[in-house]
C-alpha cells in the first residue's frame, strides 16, 4: 500500500506538478490512489472468494440447512449466506428450493438477508477504504441483523403468507456437481472478470465523486446534518439506501468521503447495509413467492434492525 501511495504522490505532485494541499492536487491524488488500491484488492479477493464459492453451490447449502432448528439454523444460514453465490435474479428458485426441502422460513430469511448484505465486494471496499476494523464490524453486525431478523420472522409463523403455489411445487433433487480444482479456477476467473466488468464503472464514478468531495467540500460540512447529534440522520440514510441497490461498489467510496466531512460512523454503516440488503428490484422479484404481509414484514424488520445498528454505533463509537 505504501508503494501505491508513493506512486500516486509521484504522479500528481512530481509528474503533473500539482501542489500538495491544493484542491485539485488532493482530489486527483486521492482518486489515483483509491482506484488502484481498490482494483488490486477487488481482483485478488473476488478470485479467492469465487474459488471458495465453487465449493458451496446453493444445492449443497440447502441440504445443510434442511430441517435445522431455530438459532443454530439461523446462525448457519447467515454464515453460509457469505459463501453461497447469490444473485437476486435467482432469488425465486432459491427460495422455493429452500422451503420445499424443509428449510424453515425464518432460516431461509436469515440466508436471504445475509447473502446480499455480507458480500465480498462491499467487504473489500470497506476494508480498502475504512480499514479492517470497520469491515469486521460490518460483517459482525450484518450477520447479527440476518440472524435476529430471521428468528423474528420465524417466530411470527407467517408460512401462510408464502404464495400458495410454492408449497405445491415439485422440486427435483439435482445431484451436486463436484468441480475439479481446474474447473474451480476457470469458474473463479470467469466470475472475477464478469464481476469486474460489471462494477468497474461504478467504482471509478464512486471514487471520482468521493475524490471531488474529498478535495472540494469543506471539512465538517456534514457534521451538522449527518453527525451523531441528529437523531433523524440514521432513518433518512436507510431510506436513501433503498433505491441504490447493487451499487455498493459505487456508493462506498462516496460514503467514505462523506464520513471525512462529518457523517457519523453508525449512520455510515446503516446506510451501507440499506444499500446492500434492502432493494426495490429484489422486493419485486420476491413478490413472486411472498404475499404482501410477509414481504412488508421482511422489509420492515430488516430496516428496523439496520436503524438500530446505526444508533448503536453512533452511541458507542
Amino acid at each position: 500500500m505504501n508503494t501505491l501511495k508513493h506512486t500516486a504522490d509521484y504522479l500528481t505532485f512530481d509528474l503533473m506538478g500539482l501542489t500538495p494541499g491544493t484542491r485539485l492536487g488532493e482530489a486527483l491524488n486521492f482518486f489515483l490512489y483509491d482506484t488502484t488500491k481498490i482494483f488490486l484488492l477487488l481482483t485478488t479477493i473476488i478470485f479467492v472468494v469465487a474459488i471458495i464459492r465453487a465449493s458451496f453451490p446453493p444445492e449443497r447449502t440447502k441440504r445443510i440447512l434442511s430441517h435445522k432448528r431455530e438459532y443454530i439454523g439461523n446462525i448457519l444460514a447467515a454464515l453460509l449466506g457469505i459463501v453461497t453465490p447469490f444473485c437476486s435474479c435467482s432469488a425465486v428458485p432459491l427460495f422455493i428450493g429452500f422451503v420445499e426441502s424443509g428449510v424453515p422460513l425464518g432460516v431461509t430469511f436469515s440466508f436471504l438477508i445475509s447473502s446480499p448484505m455480507v458480500n465480498e465486494v462491499a467487504l473489500i471496499m470497506l476494508w480498502g477504504l475504512f480499514g479492517w476494523k470497520i469491515a469486521l464490524i460490518y460483517i459482525g453486525t450484518g450477520l447479527l441483523v440476518a440472524i435476529v431478523a430471521g428468528i423474528i420472522i420465524g417466530r411470527l409463523k407467517m408460512e401462510k403468507y408464502v404464495q400458495d403455489y410454492v408449497w405445491k411445487m415439485q422440486v427435483g433433487n439435482a445431484e451436486i456437481i463436484k468441480m475439479t480444482f481446474r474447473e474451480k479456477i476457470d469458474y473463479a476467473r470467469e466470475y472475477t472478470l464478469g464481476l469486474l466488468k460489471k462494477i468497474w464503472p461504478y467504482v471509478v464514478a464512486g471514487v471520482g465523486l468521493g475524490a471531488f468531495i474529498h478535495g472540494y467540500v469543506p471539512q465538517d460540512f456534514l457534521a451538522r446534518w449527518a453527525g451523531r447529534d441528529n437523531p433523524f440522520a440514521v432513518p433518512v440514510a436507510v431510506a436513501l439506501g433503498v433505491p441504490l441497490y447493487s451499487n455498493a461498489a459505487g456508493v462506498i467510496p462516496i460514503v467514505h468521503a462523506l464520513m471525512e466531512k462529518g457523517m457519523a460512523i453508525g449512520t455510515v454503516l446503516a446506510f451501507m447495509m440499506a444499500v446492500t440488503a434492502l432493494s426495490l428490484p429484489e422486493a419485486v422479484i420476491l413478490s413472486n413467492v411472498l404475499k404482501k404481509p410477509l414481504l412488508a414484514t421482511f422489509f420492515g424488520i430488516v430496516a428496523l434492525a439496520i436503524v438500530c445498528v446505526g444508533y448503536l454505533f453512533n452511541a458507542i463509537l
Partner: protein, 75 residues
C-alpha cells in the same frame, strides 16, 4: 440430443441460450435446443440458481453462463 436452457429470462440466461446455439453449430451436431422459462419446470430439475443447462434430462451445470467453447465440452 435434447438441450434445455433453464432460466427465467435474465440477461445471463439469454447469454447462455446464444452460447449454446453457437456451441452446437461449432460442434456440428444435431440437437434440439429448448428455452425453459416457467418456474415449475425449472424446479422439477431441482435447480436453484439460474441459468442452468440440461442435456438429455440431466443437469450439467447451474448458476453460470460460460463461453460457447466451454459449453462444447458438455455436449
Amino acid at each position: 440430443m435434447k438441450i434445455e436452457v433453464l432460466g427465467t429470462g435474465c440477461t445471463k440466461c439469454k447469454m447462455l441460450y446464444e452460447a449454446v446455439q453457437a456451441a452446437v453449430k461449432a460442434k456440428g451436431i444435431e440437437a434440439e435446443i429448448v428455452k425453459v422459462e416457467d418456474m415449475p419446470s425449472i424446479m422439477k430439475y431441482g435447480v436453484m440458481s439460474t441459468p442452468a443447462l440440461v442435456v438429455d434430462g440431466k443437469v450439467v451445470f447451474s448458476g453460470k453462463s460460460p463461453s460457447a467453447a466451454e459449453i462444447q465440452k458438455y455436449l
